[in-house]
Amino acid sequence: MPATPLEVENLSAGYGPTRVLEGVSFSVPAGARLAVLGRNGMGKTTLLATLAGQTRRYDGRIVLGETDVTALPSASRAWHGLGFVPQARCVFPTLTVEENLFVGLKGRPKSALQEAYGMFPRLYERRRNLGSQLSGGEQQMLSTARSILGRPSVLLLDEPLEGLAPVICEELMKAFAELAKTGDMTILLVEQRIQSALDFADQVIVLERGRIAWSGTPDSLSKDHAAVERLLGVGGLH
């Protein structure tokens, strides 16, 4: 287990001619829980997608564990231990739930599917349904479960709670915390519900127009009312 499973240096990325990220650098220790916050359209999704190798990178370096994955395609990054749960869920619509999960197994035996079903019993009930037939929340569960099955060392979560019932959210956050605590997994979380994110995280970075505008611990952010007001647009946190 390397000391820093993920290190990002001076990353710039965007879409075609539009640059969205500018010189983002950070690194996270093993087992860390990093919350990435920011207002609408500030580049959170872009950051995660770039780490996963899905957007155009202009500049910078991404190191995953011991490997520099900057030049590697998305699939290779996955084999180097990166897991990605995108904001748009991206369930495979013509595959059944079971087949969807199967894709995420990354060569592990089929029995490992039970882990996912244990985490979300609802998926077990719907395992023969096609991805396109699932409800919004069920899709979200599937997308998350699918990535976790591959045992990533770094898990990128883009708004994994969206559309989930409060009970499920609670359980899911607990499960994430558990995964991080055992030290096997480092988690980057993008979340709109700031309080949930801060409750979960042990580190926070805040993006503002594609740059890191603030970083620190959740506690210090809660106290920095000015930053919260300016960067997150919310009156204050409890």
Binding site: G163, E171, Q192
Partner: protein
């Protein structure tokens, strides 16, 4: 109180799974109702049945006392029943201004006109600008939807629904994916709605639900297990167990 919108024992199942199981409810003008329930409870299906995107196995849907069960989706929209989509459905190649303009023109029965351009129609543009301004999308109004962030697309989804000036508005998770900083805009937009409009909102963000709703309906496994005031819902043990979890304890409703 008159009813503007009514559903009578609606049923629909998918291959043996009863997703909507004998659901009945009625709404009056001005109602602000939240429909909540566990994932997969059948909320979206309910909306699809009501708007005509799915056909029910049995049951009736009435708008303003008129049965629309046999009328297709467009007919229901023309009668004032408008919805937003849980997963945004927008025209990726078009701009927010075009979306709203299209809705406005369609509402006024002018969307079939074969001459002129909406940018050159001041009354349309005024409405477009106002609505987009209200939802904070003014700056993006001439960008392509494929280029704007997801949260902003969610806001646009709502703008389109509002532009149709509905009598009954069904919102499927309007705030999902919208950052906290912007949920305020949604709330403000909803608050500005005409008082006689009936709104049914599906939402998992309980803070929003409790600020918005005067009445809460809880759907579980296709049946309504609770229909009452927000303050009562947190006390209902079934709802707490199936849905709210510890949220009920936190006392947000108060």
């Amino acid at each position: 109180m008159s009813t503007i919108f009514e559903v009578r024992s609606l049923k629909r199942s998918f291959g043996g799974l009863a997703v909507t199981n004998n659901v009945s409810l009625a709404m009056a003008p001005g109602d602000r109702v939240a429909l909540i329930g566990p994932n997969g409870a059948g909320k979206t299906t309910f909306v699809n049945l009501v708007t005509g995107n799915l056909t029910p196995d049995s049951g009736d849907v009435l708008i303003g006392g008129e049965s629309v069960t046999r009328i297709d989706a467009t007919g229901r929209v023309r009668r004032g029943l408008v919805r937003s989509f849980q997963v945004t459905r927008l025209f990726q190649e078009m701009t927010p201004a075009e979306h709203v303009a299209l809705a406005v023109l369609q509402r006024d029965g002018r969307a079939g006109r074969m001459f002129g351009h909406f940018l050159a129609m001041p009354e349309v543009m005024a409405e477009v600008a106002e609505l987009l301004g209200k939802l904070g999308l003014s700056e993006l109004m001439h960008r392509r939807v494929s280029e704007i962030a997801y949260g902003q697309q969610r806001l646009l989804e709502i703008a389109v629904a509002l532009a149709l000036k509905p009598r009954v508005l069904l919102l499927d998770e309007p705030a999902a994916g919208v950052p906290q900083s912007d949920t305020g805009r949604i709330e403000q937009a909803l608050a500005d709605l005409p008082a006689d409009l009936a709104v049914l909102m599906i939402e998992h963000d309980m803070d929003l639900v409790f600020r918005f709703a005067k009445r809460v309906i809880v759907l579980a496994a296709g049946t309504i297990i609770f229909d009452g005031s927000p303050s009562d819902v947190t006390k209902d043990p079934r709802v707490r167990e199936a849905y709210l979890g510890s949220y009920a304890n936190a006392g947000h409703a108060a």
